[in-house]
Every structure is written in C-alpha cells, then in structure tokens.
C-alpha cells in the first residue's frame, strides 16, 4: 500500500509564502502606493515630488477602491457629463463618504469611534442619498448589512446620487451625514444664508425664520423680564436696524460648524443640518449665546 506522501519542506514553505504574498498583493492594491514604490525607488524623487505622487496615489487608491467594489459592467459616464468622485467627512462622527456616481463607499476614519463602530458593525445600515438637499422626491435609500468587524462598506444606488448622503441605523436614527459640496460651494451657501437672514431681520425683527435653527430662535425671541410687549418690540426693531445692509465679510468653516463675520461686526454661528443646509445657530461675540447674552445685547443696543 502506498501511503500519502506529504510535500517536502520547501514545497510547504512555498505554499505558505504564496499565501502571504497574495495577502500582501491585495494590501498593496488597496492603497495602490505599492505599485509606485519601485518607480519611486528608480526615480529617487525630491520630497516635493514624493508628496505630489502620494497625493495622486491617494486619489487613485480611492478611485480604485470604489471601482473594485462596484459592478464590473458599470456604464461609462454619459458624453459631456464628467464623472467626478466626491469626498466628504462627517467630522463629528468620524465617517468618510466617497461617492463615485452610483457607488457610495463609507468608511470609519481612524481612530475609529467605538460608539459608531458598535452601531454599524454587523447591523443593517441604510444609506439615503439624493440631490438637491431636502428634496424627498429625489432621495434614494439602499439598505445592506454592514460587514461584521469591518470599518468600510459600499452601497450601489440604482442611479446617480450626487449631492448628499445620510446613514441610518435600524431604528431610523441618523448615524452620519455628509453633503458633497466643495468648500467654495459651502461658503456661498453660508454667505447667502447670513445675508438673507440679516436683510430679513433688519426689515422685520422676526427671530424665527427658515434661516435660523430652532434652538437659536427660541433663545432670542424672549424679551427681558419686566419689559412691556411694546417696549420689547421697540427694542427688537432697534436691534434689527443694526443689521441694515449687513453682509457676510469673512467665513470660517470647520466640519459642520461655520462662522460668518458680518459687516456690522456681528459674528453669526452656523450649523449644517442633516439635509445639507446651513442655519444660524448662534451669535457672537455678543448676541444671543452664552450666559451674558442679555448684557451683551443691551450693550450693543439689542432687545
């Protein structure tokens, strides 16, 4: 009888090396920089060139990562319509969204927040995307199980979604949100919101408008104790006049928060809503926010 003969040591070592080499290959294809390394070695580029190459490699990596997970038979972009990969981070939740027309790749940014990871890992998570912001007719939702223990997953939409995306857990709570707008686009939106609010507030000191958040609206509409309604309205009108002709001069954005300095030196604080719009959420350095808001308003002729 002939017994089973085990491959000899070098053959078994070969099999093990092939196994780990295949894993290495997959890892290299992920960031794609591996392919550039030999070329970089030959070229011995300057640090500036390396930085530029790294940037290009990062872009290529993201595009490759998305392309790999999308269907093979994906259609080419229609003539005249430029295919653009959109990036966006939900800074607060540490979630990155990469949208390549119909394929949305969502990844948890390192360091991964435990709460987010526990929420998504192994759970059925819905991605709702659409354009323009807030238009329910153009929303599309895709639900899939987030791979257990993974920090990244992809959703494929039946048609192009190009403006914003939200992730929901099974209870319907928003897990993360992003609006795919360029910084300049966000600035234009913020300036528009601030200017419209200032014009509106100057003509009619109505605090609760579409341009402000509910929290802000509730916080500023109450008059000081002891003032009659007439006196309160007079104060409000006076405060409103302070905003006549005021326009946004400087804008700073950090994640979902922004601040706009108006031409009357009032700084309004804005927050991006879950539908991608910006709303005024506070005022400073004097105004409606903070424990001494009333004193500040009095000092600056506010109501």
């Amino acid at each position: 009888m002939t017994g089973h003969r085990q491959p000899w040591y070098l053959d078994r070592l070969r099999a093990e090396l092939e196994r780990v080499a295949a894993i290495e290959d997959r890892r290299e294809r992920g960031p794609a920089l591996g392919r550039l390394r030999p070329a970089l070695g030959r070229l011995r580029p300057s640090p500036q060139t390396l930085v530029a190459l790294a940037f290009v490699a990062a872009l290529v990596a993201v595009v490759l990562a998305v392309a790999r997970e999308s269907d093979v038979e994906r259609q080419a972009a229609p003539p005249g319509k430029k295919a653009v990969t959109l990036f966006g981070d939900d800074v607060e939740r540490g979630v990155r969204f990469v949208l390549d027309r119909r394929v949305l790749t969502v990844s948890l940014l390192p360091p991964v927040r435990n709460q987010i990871f526990e929420t998504v890992s192994g759970a059925r998570i819905s991605a709702t995307c659409g354009a323009p912001p807030g238009d329910p007719r153009r929303e599309t939702t895709v639900t899939r199980r987030w791979p257990d223990g993974q920090t990244r997953t992809s959703y494929r939409f039946p048609r192009d979604v190009s403006s914003w995306c939200r992730l929901y857990d099974q209870s319907g709570s928003i897990v993360a949100f992003v609006s795919f707008r360029s910084a300049s686009g966000a600035r234009a939106l913020i300036a528009e919101t601030a200017n419209k609010w200032a014009r509106h507030f100057a003509s009619s000191p109505q605090t609760c408008t579409d341009y402000v958040s509910r929290t802000f609206c509730e916080g500023v509409k109450g008059c000081e104790p002891g003032l009659s309604i007439r006196a309160c309205r007079a104060k409000a009108r006076q405060w409103g006049e302070y905003f006549l002709g005021a326009t946004a001069q400087r804008i700073a954005i950090r994640g979902d928060r922004a601040a706009a300095t108006l031409s009357n030196d009032v700084i309004v604080q804005l927050r991006r809503t879950t539908t991608g719009e910006w709303q005024i959420d506070g005022m400073g350095p004097f105004g409606a926010v903070g424990p001494d808001a009333a004193a500040q308003r009095r000092e600056h002729r506010g109501p």
Partner: protein, 180 residues
C-alpha cells in the same frame, strides 16, 4: 500568467504572488543548502530559510540592485539572518511575524533532504564546464588516463589536454567556492 523567463528583478519589482513563487523556486534549494552548511542542524537551516524568504517577500518592492539576478541580494539577506542567528543562538522571526506567516513544521524526512542539499555534487559542478574541459577532466581525473593517451583519443596535442584539465579544475574550484 507568470513569465518564467523574467529576470529576478522583474519578478520582484513587478510581479505578484505567483511571480514570487517562481523566484522562490529558482533560489530555495541553494539558499537552504547554503544555510545548512553553516547551521548546526537541518531544522535551524529550515527555520532560517523561512525567515530569509519572508524578508525577501517583505522587501521585494525595495529591490534596488541593477542586477537582473537577485542572487547576491538573497545571499546578503541569508548571511545577515545567519549571522544574527549565530550571535543570538536562534533564528529571528521578525519578517515572518510581520507577514503573519504560519509556522512550517520540519519532519525527519525533511531534515534528511536538507542535509543532502548541503552536499555539493561534483557531477553537477562538472555540468557547468565547457564540453572540452569537462571531457578532459573526466578522462584524466575520473578515468585516470595518461595525457598522451587522452591527446590521441581527443585528436589534440598533449599540451592542449593539460591546459584543458588545468582550466577545468580551476573552473570547478571557482564553482565550488561559489556554492559552498
């Protein structure tokens, strides 16, 4: 598909897992033989060989030499690993740990084959000699023929036979030193 005619350099820099396997097949036996001749036993040599190829796999994209053959590169890795093992008394596992490689057990049969790899075959070395030198060396050294008889058999002068034997032996010596 892996091009089996590709140089070591091409296999390392541009190849994938299958290309590395071809590279491994080219070099595994001589590396293991080299390590066995300098290690206390077959198991230690096998352990070192695994570490050498793990290091080669990890560093394949950083292969900087202009040489198409990676013989010298691999020899340098093997020598470094060997020296480190001789100093510390054990083969390091750094490269294998980095790759999360599973241990490959060494059986008694493996040890016997590894020991055999350490033996340098003179017949193999002879194959590398030019035909006229090989024939002269075999006739003079193995068959113990006289120079005059060999000269007649081969249809050349005795001086030419002596020269071929001398050059053949020098060539064998060089091959031997390279292998051992």
């Amino acid at each position: 598909m892996v091009d089996h005619e590709a140089t070591d350099r091409e296999l390392l820099l541009e190849g994938d897992a299958a290309a590395f396997a071809v590279f491994y097949d080219r070099h595994a036996e001589w590396v293991l033989g080299f390590l066995r001749r300098r290690s206390p036993d077959g198991e230690a040599a096998a352990d070192l060989a695994a570490e050498v190829f793990a290091a080669a796999l990890s560093g394949r994209r950083r292969y900087r030499s202009k040489n198409a053959s990676a013989h010298a590169w691999l020899l340098a890795i093997a020598s470094n690993k060997l020296n480190s093992a001789l100093r510390s008394g054990y083969a390091e596992r750094r490269a294998r740990t980095r790759l999360a490689m599973r241990p490959v057990e060494v059986t008694d049969d493996d040890v016997a084959r590894i020991d055999a790899l350490a033996e340098v075959s003179v017949v193999e070395l002879l194959q590398d000699l030019p035909t006229d030198q090989r024939t002269a060396v075999l006739a003079r050294i193995v068959d113990e023929g006289e120079y005059a008889d060999i000269a007649v058999t081969q249809g050349v002068s005795e001086a030419v036979v002596r020269q071929r034997v001398s050059r053949g032996l020098a060539g064998l010596r060089r091959q031997w030193e390279k292998r051992v």
